[in-house]
């Protein structure tokens, strides 16, 4: 009945975080890797295929880093269950490669001792052997192999030929294929952990020379980078560059993509196609695909920074520096970078939460990330502010319009911190996961590893988020296009559509917010991307000059809406779940519709409350 089971032998890479396991995986498989999610969890399953020099076609599995098989996080549970062969639909690995950082063997050796108990064939790979040799650490691999009772090889992921010894040993192990011993692993007690650590320390004393000298470069760098004040300033400077890059460097590429899709849209717009088909191709399909692809440059730039900082070993330091500051709002130190990225766009921000290993901390960060003011809100804010907020100065030097803009950002940040504080109260029965992580020695990032990482991120985004986002875009197009306007209709087509019907049906609900049905209708295509609402308002109010004429739109709106309505719409936009793409990414990253729905409804509730309060207060003050 197991006809579908993979026939290629399964080789699993297991090791501590920061042991260079992923670089080794990249070196062994190159771009021949596949990233999927384990069913029901957000943990990524990275597999790759390769053929060894001995002619074995094998399947290589990169398991999440861990210090022990005693799982403490969803990632580590996957490692444990995979190693033990307990994952549904998966077989136990035919061979375990325990990857160890040669210059930091102590914790790896303890893990190797624990892995031995699993009873499967195992090879210990002393990885990054070049670095430890340079630091004068001598490892007697033969003796270590004898005393540990498993084959020991050395490896260098980043150098040609650096994995030859490992591949040869994999071949030998696959030929040997010893009878699988019975697994007698159980979650070790504190006493057993102590025992295995002292056994590991004993192995270190007998087989390794030249330990005890810390890495000089790392110590010197940390004296600056972890300085209580200087370290924070440097972190801020790095973040500033990153933020700037995501905003500015991505702009030409984003403009080019947008222009390319506009051109493509223009091609089908030549009138030779039936109206409906043309609208579907142009406004549904091409605009839909375009609105997904346009995020790609930002995502690549952001992940470039994240991968470089992670490989460098700086990410753990950033978490160290920010832990106390973020902790005040119930967020983990590692939530800092994802939240900051969300100022550009919540999508890369939410994808960046992968650096947070605690499941609940990660979820909290994902839930609040869409509250950070993303760049797509800016066109809407600008339109309404320039139409309704007088361009004058307050307190002699502050521009009122700029002040309102700043206020909208501040409300978004305040909202995110407030919500995370409340989530912490609701979700946690304890004060939270402890902050404990290893600060690895700094390493120069390898271009190849970064490139493979970027490639993987880009594919994931395009393949999976792309399909969900695109289907939502098409749904929104259907809402805005059907039913078709009657023959001889004078109003814009959207006014006869389902979107208009929904908008009018919603009017009783939105009147307390000061929203007329036209605003409701504009909010529906605005779900595709927030800034689309600007063009949609133009269409609904049938303003000549098309979607680019935002000055004109502003003038018309100023004549049609009260100030209270405008302010309420701004308040709405700070909180509203106005972005289908973000929701799709939340669905993908949390692996559940539930959390997407939670995000949607809590943001909707906040938006409604904020707009209601704003409108009612503004009306009371005479702005109605």
């Amino acid at each position: 009945m197991n006809a579908s089971v993979e026939l290629a032998p399964l080789v699993a890479l297991v090791g501590n975080p920061n042991c260079g396991k992923t670089a080794l995986f990249n070196a062994l498989t190159g771009s021949r890797q596949k990233v999927a999610n384990y069913p029901g969890v957000t943990v990524e399953k990275k597999t790759g295929r390769l053929t060894t020099p001995g002619g074995h076609a094998i399947q290589l599995l990169d398991l999440p880093g861990t210090y022990s098989l005693r799982a403490r996080s969803p990632d580590e549970e996957i490692t444990r269950d995979s190693v033990l062969g307990k994952l549904a639909g998966e077989t136990a690995p035919d061979l375990i490669v325990c990857v160890a950082d040669s210059s930091n063997l102590r914790l790896s050796l303890r893990l190797a001792l624990e892995l031995k108990q699993v009873g499967r064939p195992i090879v210990l790979a002393l990885n990054m052997i070049d670095i430890s040799r340079k630091r004068g650490i001598e490892i007697d691999a033969e003796r270590l192999s004898r005393e540990l009772g498993v084959p020991v090889v050395t490896s260098v992921a980043v150098r040609r030929g650096g994995t030859d010894a490992l591949l040869a040993e994999i071949d030998r192990a696959l030929v040997r294929m010893p009878a699988v011993a019975t697994a007698n692993w159980h979650a070790p007690s504190a006493g057993e952990l102590r025992g295995s650590q002292s056994e590991a320390d004993q192995l270190l004393r007998t087989c390794v020379r030249g330990l005890g000298r810390p890495d000089g470069g790392t110590a010197r760098a940390d004296a600056v980078l972890l300085h209580p004040v200087g370290g924070l300033l440097i972190l801020l400077a790095i973040l500033f560059v990153m933020f700037q890059a995501v905003f500015a460097w991505a702009r030409p590429a984003m403009d080019a993509i947008a222009a390319g899709f506009a051109l493509l849209g223009g091609l089908v717009d030549d009138g030779s196609l039936p109206d409906l088909l043309r609208s579907f191709l142009k406004d549904g399909l091409i605009a839909g695909v375009g609105s997904v692809l346009v995020f790609l440059p930002q995502i690549l730039i952001l992940f470039f920074f994240i991968l470089v900082l992670e490989d460098l070993g700086y990410m753990a330091r950033a978490a160290f520096l920010m832990d106390r500051i973020m902790g005040g709002a119930g967020l983990h130190g590692r939530a800092f970078i994802p939240l900051l990225s969300s100022f550009a766009c919540a999508i890369p921000g939410i994808m960046a939460t992968r650096v947070i290993d605690d499941k609940r901390d990660r979820l909290t960060t994902i839930l609040v990330a869409p509250l950070m003011t993303c760049s797509a809100r800016i066109p809407v804010y600008t339109l309404i502010i320039s139409a309704f907020i007088p361009d004058r100065e307050v307190a002699g030097f502050l521009g009122l319009q700029g002040l309102v803009m700043f206020g909208l950002y501040a409300v978004g940040i305040g909202g995110a911190l407030g919500v995370s504080f409340i989530i912490k109260r609701i979700m946690r029965d304890s004060p939270g996961a402890p902050f404990m992580l290893e600060l690895p020695n700094y390493k120069i990032p390898q271009a190849r590893s970064i490139a493979v990482g970027l490639w993987t991120r880009a594919t994931i985004f395009l393949e999976r988020a792309g399909t969900t986002i695109l289907s939502m875009m098409i749904l929104i197009w259907v809402l805005a296009s059907f039913p078709r306007p009657p023959v001889g209709a004078t109003d814009p087509a959207i006014n006869y559509s389902l979107a208009a019907i929904i908008g009018k049906a919603m009017e009783p609900l939105t009147l307390p917010l000061g929203f007329n049905w036209q605003i409701n209708v504009a909010l529906i295509p605005g779900m595709a991307a927030r800034e689309v609402a600007v063009g949609a308002l133009g269409t609904i109010y049938a303003i000549d000059g098309g979607e680019g004429a935002s000055d004109k739109i502003g003038q018309v709106l100023a004549g049609q809406w009260s100030l209270a309505t405008a302010l309420a719409l701004l308040a709405w936009y700070v909180f509203a779940p106005q972005c289908a793409s973000t929701l799709a990414v939340i669905r993908r990253e949390t692996g559940s519709w539930k959390w997407m729905a939670v995000t949607f409804f809590y943001m909707l509730a906040l938006a409604y409350a904020a707009a209601l309060a704003t409108y009612q207060i503004a009306c009371t003050l005479g702005a109605g």
Binding site: Y67, S68, R70, R72, S103, N104, L105, R106, L107, R110, P188, S189, A190, L193, R194, Q197, S198, D201, L204, R205, L211, G212, P214, D222, L226, H227, P228, V229, L232, A316, A319, F320, L321, D323, R324, I325, S430, P431, G432, P434, F435, M436, L437, E438, L439, P440
Partner: protein, 96 residues
């Protein structure tokens, strides 16, 4: 083995060098179950006899701290470090 000279790593000043005398997870602030905290600390290398040095600390409340444990460096909060009982003076410690 826990004598007058031992105290919590969570109370140590920056630059402190010493050796782990014992783990007492009940001393840590609220958070993990003491038994779980003890196992996690051991998994990160905090075992009796290991040398420790307090390398860095954060700006606010001198928290968290970065501690060199034998050959590795671990960042943790003082709240959890309270569970690690240390004694001063490990200048001579080098693995043979």
């Amino acid at each position: 083995m826990v004598n007058q000279r031992t105290f919590s790593l969570g109370e140590a000043r920056i630059g402190f060098r010493g050796r782990i005398a014992a783990l007492d997870a009940n001393r840590a602030g609220p958070g993990l179950e003491p038994a779980e905290l003890e196992r996690r600390l051991i998994e990160l290398g905090f075992v009796e006899g290991a040398t420790v040095e307090l390398l860095h600390q954060g700006l606010f409340g001198r928290d968290p701290i970065a501690v060199r444990v034998a050959e590795g460096t671990i960042a943790l909060r003082r709240r959890e470090a309270m569970a690690i009982m240390v004694e001063a003076g490990a200048e001579t410690e080098v693995p043979a």
